[in-house]
């Protein structure tokens, strides 16, 4: 190893322990002394580099982190709250949509589905009898009233007819109950005068603001019911 190369290596790293460096130092005491000199310089440089650290820097660093992560946690919980609120709103809207949206396109289909759904709630043998007065009280919501009773009224209740408030009447029929719906007019449900399936038949009457739908089994004469209703009902303004 020539002198220049040796000096370069020692200048770059005075504590170098490479075999050829050590060998060169062994062979030439001057080289060893040169390395010692630079190690000493390093010691002095190290002392000079150890500038004083500001008082309390350590505590400041820990404090700042504690504050920052506290802030972050607060931000996070706000985010969580906002998320929860959004989810709640969307859930609310979905329920609303499902409950009040029109899943049927015409009166008849919906009316039949409604009757089948409540089929087991009423029977032709029910002894219930609801008076004309209480029926007419319920009819106030539709600005209508009946002059005479149409037959034995088993049940009269408000219900949701595809999202609309309507009156659901169940009369005693010849072989099975006769269902009458009083429904406000709705543009979204197509009006159909006659409808039926294998068991039930239905007929709708179109009044000014209201439709009245009669559904019964095939033993009933719907036209008779229709006439009775049309003759009996009066509408106020």
């Amino acid at each position: 190893m020539d002198d220049l190369q040796y000096r370069r290596s020692i200048y770059a790293d005075p504590t170098c322990q490479d075999a050829d460096i050590l060998a060169a130092q062994q062979a030439d005491p001057a080289k060893k002394e040169f390395a010692q000199e630079l190690i000493q310089l390093d010691e002095r440089l190290k002392r000079a580099m150890q500038v004083p650290v500001p008082d309390g820097l350590c505590e400041k660093l820990i404090l700042r982190q504690t504050l920052a992560s506290h802030q972050q946690k607060k931000r996070k919980s706000r985010v969580h709250l906002a998320l929860a609120a959004s989810v709640a709103i969307i859930a609310g809207l979905t329920v609303n949509y499902l409950q009040f949206s029109n899943s049927f396109t015409n009166l008849g289909d919906y009316a039949l589905a409604h009757v089948y759904h409540e089929k087991n709630d009423f029977s032709n043998d029910d002894k219930n009898q609801i008076s004309l007065t209480s029926l007419n009280q319920k009819m106030i919501a539709f600005n209508g009233s009946f002059e005479q009773s149409l037959g034995q009224l088993i049940s009269a209740d408000y219900c949701r007819f595809d999202g609309m408030k309507s009156l659901h009447l169940v009369f005693k029929g010849i072989t099975d109950t006769v269902t009458v719906f009083v429904v406000p007019k709705n543009e979204q449900l197509a009006f159909n005068k006659y409808f039926s399936d294998s068991k039930l038949q239905g007929e709708s009457i179109d009044f000014k603001n209201t439709n009245i739908i009669v559904i019964a089994d095939k033993n009933e004469s719907l036209s008779q019911w229709q006439r009775a209703i049309s003759d009996n009902v009066t509408w106020s303004i």
Binding site: Y11, P14, L41, R47, V53, L61, A68, S69
Partner: protein, 179 residues
């Protein structure tokens, strides 16, 4: 689950505080030799440790903590120049830490050496600080600075060479004339 989360948080806090205690001195001094400014160094160290906290889970090997922090600090320092390039002028005339008030022989020498080190081009002084203060090998420094090892060794050679020449030019009684 929540107790485990807070448990992890507590463990993280302990790790962080240990890291701060063990390494803030080295990191501050490194920042000082990078910026030659006490206030900027303190800000840099604060910013570095905040970033370190956020990324603490990615630090798997505690032995690598120091070089990891130094890497963060160098990045933060580079970002500082992107933000306010006009402050470069401050960098030119190195305002060296003044410790003259306690004028012992040792302090005078330190002051003189600091002045000389501050005059080194930053690309020479940075590896020198990493080697002498950080105790890193040429390979380590090359990795940290993204240079090849030969370049690092050449810069180290030039750094010491320049300092030694400056020392030899100075009269033996330099302390008395200085300051």
């Amino acid at each position: 689950m929540p107790s485990q989360v807070s448990n992890n948080m507590a463990t993280k806090q302990v790790r962080y505080e240990a890291l701060v205690r063990a390494l803030h001195t080295d990191l501050y001094r490194y920042a000082y030799w990078l910026t030659h400014d006490k206030q900027v160094s303190e800000d840099l160290v604060q910013e570095t440790f905040l970033r370190a906290w956020r990324a603490l889970d990615s630090l798997k090997d505690e032995k690598a903590a120091k070089s990891w922090l130094i890497t963060i600090l160098r990045r933060e320092n580079a970002r500082r120049f992107e933000r306010k390039r006009f402050e470069m002028s401050e960098y030119e005339e190195a305002n060296v830490m003044d410790t003259q008030s306690t004028s012992t022989e040792q302090e005078i020498e330190n002051h003189w050496l600091r002045e000389k080190m501050a005059q080194l081009p930053p690309e020479y002084s940075e590896p020198l600080v990493l080697q002498i203060l950080g105790g890193y090998s040429g390979e380590d420094i090359a990795t940290m600075l993204n240079l090849n090892k030969n370049t690092v060794m050449t810069r180290l050679f030039r750094a010491r060479n320049q300092l030694k020449e400056a020392l030899e030019k100075e009269p033996v009684t330099r302390g008395q004339y200085n300051g």
